[in-house]
Amino acid sequence: MDFAFSYIVLALIYILLGLSTNLLVGIVGIFSLSQAAVFGVGAYIVANLTMMSAPLPFFVALAVAGLACLVLNILSTLPSLRVSGHYFVVTSFGIQLLASAIFENWTAGTGGQNGMPGIPAPSLFGAELYTPLAFVSIVLPAVALGCLVFWLVLRSPFGRLLRAIREDELAVASVGKQVLAAKVAAAALAGAFAGVAGGLFAAFMSFIDPTSFNLDASVLLLSMVVIGGARTLLGSIVGPPIVLALPQIITLIDLPTTVAAPMRQLVYGVILIAFMLFRSQGLFGERL
């Protein structure tokens, strides 16, 4: 039972991350390969703030992580305002590598390769949330709020402006709209989502290390959005649980362990390629 709830909590956290990625990549069209880096900063901030000699309460630490990542994401997407399209992909790739190097080597702040164990579980009204089921009680409202905000943005004039910007920035500027301000606002929101997701992840796992926040993780996030579907709320909600469940589903195929591991990667790769070839809009999304 705990295993099922663990899966649900992780899936919820990744839905929040999916919303963040979908906002940035799907709606505004800032194709970022560094979303996992922002996620990681949120996680390390909460880990550090709740493990200090005078620890901050979890929810205060979570708010700090959200705010810090809001600012960080504005800074990390700023290059996209100067370099566009494919060039920004390379820029964000660089940002991700930079972040990974820091996560792996700044031992005092991140524990380096060994990671940070013993992150305390958050407490709510005096009760410590040790079990995955109890953790659902804080993750679910956070994700629900994230979905509401995402939905409001999507259907508002602000969302319409972001879609227009994704298609043609110059045309948006030509009718007198502020392209820069809209892009910065969207990046800020996406950053806050990723930071909060990171904080929740750290508290839930109680142990974090750089492998959760590396380039692979960024690519995994992108594939969640692509498989679920870009630019829709439903796509953001459906993608992460499916991608997270895939490795488990593949283990159901009865294979010797020496064959199973490479087979899993193989099946995973084939699924991604098949989606791009035959259903590039994902399950419930629009074409990127």
Partner: protein, 253 residues
């Protein structure tokens, strides 16, 4: 004071002088057509007026106000908006949404309005939609409001670019080849629309190649050649000048 005054504007791209001491003025409430062979600098002067391109030297002023250093957004604020030769519509949005993008000062177009006051946003959007529908009706596209741009005919798309411009509320509209590539019927529609806009106190500066269209809409014709204003006058004056027709229809100058 002229309505729009372009004085001594020079623009070079590397060794190419796109605009060479370009001078002209246009009058309020008139349709001025900008003609000239390919490469004469017609689109370049549009880019300079609307803030997409900075002139090397020279100045543009609108209602007496200098435009130098203003961003495209600030220039729209002053009341100048432009269309593009390649339309640049938002193909994945509906016709109505394309017009709505043009309407300025909408509540809920910032993240705070959209997220913190969703009900007020919905309420005000009703009025904005009604306004956008009026504009679509005005250009004859009301029946296509919910159609995605990619499913509109080329003629309809051209009308929609004018609708998006009208949504900005600008008084001076710069239209880059609004009639090119259109069928005979669609041509009549756009000519009627441009004349109607003039009657509604809009001022139009139109780049147009089709001389028959120019004959029917232009109050004044500006003839641009190699980035310089070569002649200015009525349609008859321009078309009866053999030197100009020589340049325009394949001379060797």
């Amino acid at each position: 004071m002229s309505y729009l005054e372009v004085s001594a504007v020079n623009v070079s791209f590397g060794g190419l002088r796109a605009l060479n001491d370009c001078n002209f003025t246009i009058e309020a409430g008139k349709i001025t057509c900008l003609v000239g062979p390919n490469g004469a600098g017609k689109t370049t002067i549009f880019n300079v007026i609307t803030g997409f391109l900075r002139a090397d030297t020279g100045a543009v002023s609108f209602r007496g106000e200098k435009l130098a250093g203003l961003s495209p957004q600030e220039i729209v604020d002053l009341g100048i908006a432009r269309s593009f030769q390649n339309l640049r519509l938002f193909s994945q949005l509906t016709a109505l949404d394309n017009v709505l993008i043009g309407i300025r000062g909408q509540f809920g177009e910032t993240i705070f309005g959209a997220v913190l006051r969703p009900f007020h946003t919905v309420k005000t959007q009703r009025a904005e939609r009604a306004r956008a529908m009026e504009i679509l009706e005005h250009v004859g596209l009301a029946a296509k409001a919910g159609t995605f741009v990619r499913n509109l005919s080329y003629g309809e798309q051209k009308l929609l670019t004018v609708a998006r411009l009208l949504a900005t509320g600008a008084d001076l509209l710069l239209l880059d080849e609004p009639a090119s590539g259109m069928s005979a019927d669609a041509l009549e529609e756009i000519i009627a629309l441009l004349k109607r806009l003039k009657g509604e106190n809009k001022t139009l500066l139109v780049v147009e190649h089709n001389t028959r269209v120019v004959q029917r809409i232009a109050d004044t014709v500006l003839f641009l050649h190699q980035g310089h204003l070569m002649a200015e006058g009525s349609v008859e004056e321009i078309t009866s000048n053999p030197a100009l027709t020589e340049i325009y229809f394949g001379g060797t100058i």
